[in-house]
């Protein structure tokens, strides 16, 4: 969403015009976003909307066959869009921490927690084995893992899902990163463990001044932890706002559809029908013009097939739809 919500005086992460394509299909179609120090920016959308591809593209971890282009990719004041793979590898796991959805697949089952955690420190910081182990224990303790010394000798399968995710978080924070990219970090967890994990992340963020880019499909998680939100659909950011502004006045029909589909105690009663969005996220070929949501949108007009410029609902609330900012008040 070009020329919107620019507050990038000292943003930790600045992305402008990020595009990713796989073969002839466009997965990410020119997104702009920034994350400041101490801020959590949530990227939210359904599967297939391009949120994970965006995160991988920022980290330079796209699979072979994917093409990335980006106008500006700023990290802590430096342009990292043109860095070689070797120099990116030095940043990842060091100044940029990463957490993935499924700790069972992102931890190596054949190595102990200790050897995986100390490898990060030995590789990036050149620490000796014993010093690295000391630091790993301290970090495990910090993220609330009980008996941290014992954990170093354990294998991933010996830990519960919640513990594994804490180990992942500890590992991502070992080198004191300035930016943390978390892709669905709590999706595989129970609601109780999810609540504890989100709280831990928020605490660590305050303590370390982390900039966090959090990817999720759950608007409940967004409301709980985000400062700013970008709603993604079919490779585009269709709505971007502060969390307060977005939940006070969700404006894009897609955002409204997502919110209507969630059963909320108190709001939806037994007997009411939940809203659902017909159809599926389309695959977008190169050269596509117009609003990608138009085939599923109840308010689509012929004009939606032409280029839709972004509009502002308020100074910190942008959306990409033909309709006036307060259109939904009439229908609500």
């Amino acid at each position: 969403m070009s020329a919107t919500l620019k507050r990038s005086t000292n943003a930790t992460l600045e992305v402008e015009g990020l595009r990713v394509s796989f073969g002839g299909m466009e997965a990410v179609r020119g997104i702009d976003l920034s994350v400041e120090r101490g801020e959590t920016h949530c990227l939210v959308g359904e599967s297939g909307c391009g949120k994970s591809a965006s995160a991988l593209a920022i980290m330079g971890l796209l699979p072979g066959g994917a093409r990335r282009s980006v106008r500006r990719l700023g990290f802590a004041g430096d342009e990292i869009g043109k860095l070689s793979e070797r120099r990116m590898a030095r940043l990842r796991g060091d100044r940029i921490g990463m957490i993935f959805q499924d700790p069972m697949t992102s931890l190596n089952p054949a190595y102990t927690i200790g050897s995986q955690m100390t490898e990060v420190l030995r590789r990036h910081r050149g620490l000796a084995r014993d010093k690295a182990a000391e630091r790993a224990v301290a970090m495990l303790d910090r993220v609330g893992v009980t008996a941290p010394g014992m954990r170093l000798g354990q294998f991933p399968h010996q830990l519960s899902g919640g513990l594994r995710q804490r180990v992942m978080i500890a590992m991502a924070l070992l080198c004191e990163p300035t930016l943390l990219i978390a892709d669905e970090p709590t999706t595989a967890l129970d609601v109780t463990v999810q609540a504890q994990t989100l709280r831990l992340l928020a605490e660590l963020q305050r303590e370390l001044g982390l900039a966090v880019l959090l990817i999720t499909h759950d608007l409940g998680v967004v409301a709980r932890v985000a400062h700013r939100v970008s709603v993604m659909y079919a490779g585009e950011i269709v709505e971007q706002a502060t969390t307060e502004a977005l939940f006070a006045a969700p404006t894009h029909p897609y955002t409204r559809g997502l919110l209507d589909a969630i059963p909320v105690p108190g709001k939806v009663r037994r007997g009411d029908k939940l809203g659902s969005i017909p159809g599926i996220v389309p695959r977008i070929p190169a050269g596509f013009v117009g609003c990608a949501f138009r085939d599923r949108c109840a308010f689509a007009e012929p004009v939606c097939a032409s280029n839709i410029p972004p509009q502002f609902a308020s100074p910190d609330h942008a959306y990409r739809c033909r309709m006036a900012p307060d259109w939904w008040r009439a229908t609500a």
């Binding site: 513990l163 409301a223 559809g257 589909a261 969630i262 059963p263 105690p265 599926i280």
Partner: protein
């Protein structure tokens, strides 16, 4: 109203690995997955079963379907003891009681066409070939894939997750069952699709008068389909009541925590710590007395000494907590 399912003191213990010392002592430690539950489901009733992973909820579903043999207790289906079923009577039971799987991508053979996948229960129960197509079309209409011929010869990979979950439902319904167990039927689906499936399940309940058990870790989803909800913790039922009661006036501290843990899509939600801490206790050697006591902020001496019984706290609403039992209600 007639009882369809009646379980008394139903128990499932799984043997677990032993240490050398336990072997020498002749001890046989077991995981107490389900540890003595009483459960009655009336004909036409939709019951939700909620708990964290490891609470034993999936094992209860498997026991009710005779997919695993109970270690103790009794279970009656439509007046007959499930343990005594064999031969023809077992085949009839298999047709009457069906399971809806969690992950539609894993539970439909990728090499079968949709027609073949849905036909499976008919083939197993010996429905003549001539009748099959009609029955399949009927089941597909029920799940709103009415344009049967559009889907019949497709393969699972050509369908979206939501469509595939409808196919899984159609397969469960094609044998005209009277009892359905749905284990996390929407947890693998996107929110926009999830709502459609929930709407459909409710419609099926009303139209076919199905008796159903919905297993989920998310109370808000259960609220949407079930008039009655059971909460399980570490192999025991800790709360049982009308869903609206259980959600608006949860009696058990565990239920209170489960409700509080669900992130809501609104910014004014509480971000406080959960009332319960840590994770599930060990099901091999659970705490004495009340099994929640090591995580419960209200635990007192009696909780370690005495197992709380499931007692009525309001008409039709029972909880297993010493705080709400008559002897302590005054003190609490």
């Amino acid at each position: 109203m007639a009882e369809l399912i009646a379980a008394a003191n139903l128990t499932k213990h799984y043997p677990t690995s032993r240490t050398t010392r336990q072997m020498l002592r002749g001890e046989r430690p077991v995981v107490r997955a389900v540890d003595g539950i009483d459960l009655v489901i009336q004909r036409g009733e939709s019951v939700g079963l909620v708990g964290e992973s490891g609470s034993g909820k999936t094992t209860v579903g498997r026991l009710l379907l005779k997919l695993t043999e109970a270690s103790g207790g009794t279970l009656n289906f439509d007046g007959a003891a499930v343990s005594g079923l064999s031969g023809d009577s077992l085949r009839r039971f298999r047709q009457q009681a069906q399971l809806v799987f969690q992950n539609p991508f894993d539970s439909v053979n990728p090499r079968f066409t949709i027609r073949r996948a849905v036909a499976e229960p008919l083939i197993n129960t010996g429905v003549p070939r001539a009748e099959r197509d009609g029955r399949i079309a009927e089941a597909m209409r029920l799940v709103h894939l009415g344009d049967f011929h559009r889907y019949a010869d497709k393969h699972p990979s050509e369908l979206s997750g939501g469509q595939l979950q409808r196919v899984v439902l159609a397969r469960a319904l094609v044998g005209r069952p009277s009892f359905l167990v749905a284990d996390e039927p929407v947890s693998m689906l996107d929110v926009s699709v999830r709502a459609g499936i929930l709407n459909l399940m409710r419609e099926l309940r009303d139209r076919l008068g199905l008796t159903a058990l919905y297993i989920s870790h998310d109370l808000t989803l259960v609220r949407y389909v079930c008039e009655r909800t059971l909460v399980m913790y570490l192999g025991r039922i800790v709360e049982d009541g009308p869903t609206s009661e259980v959600i608006s006036r949860p009696a058990h501290p565990y239920t209170q925590a489960l409700i509080k843990a669900v992130p809501r899509p609104r910014t004014d939600q509480s971000r406080e710590d959960l009332p319960i801490s840590g994770g599930l206790a060990n099901a091999v050697s659970p705490p004495s007395g009340c099994r929640l006591r090591d995580r419960c902020p209200y635990a007192f001496a009696r909780c370690a000494q005495e197992v709380p019984a499931l007692l009525e706290v309001a008409p039709g609403h029972r909880a297993a907590c010493h705080l709400t039992s008559p002897a302590n209600a005054a003190a609490a």
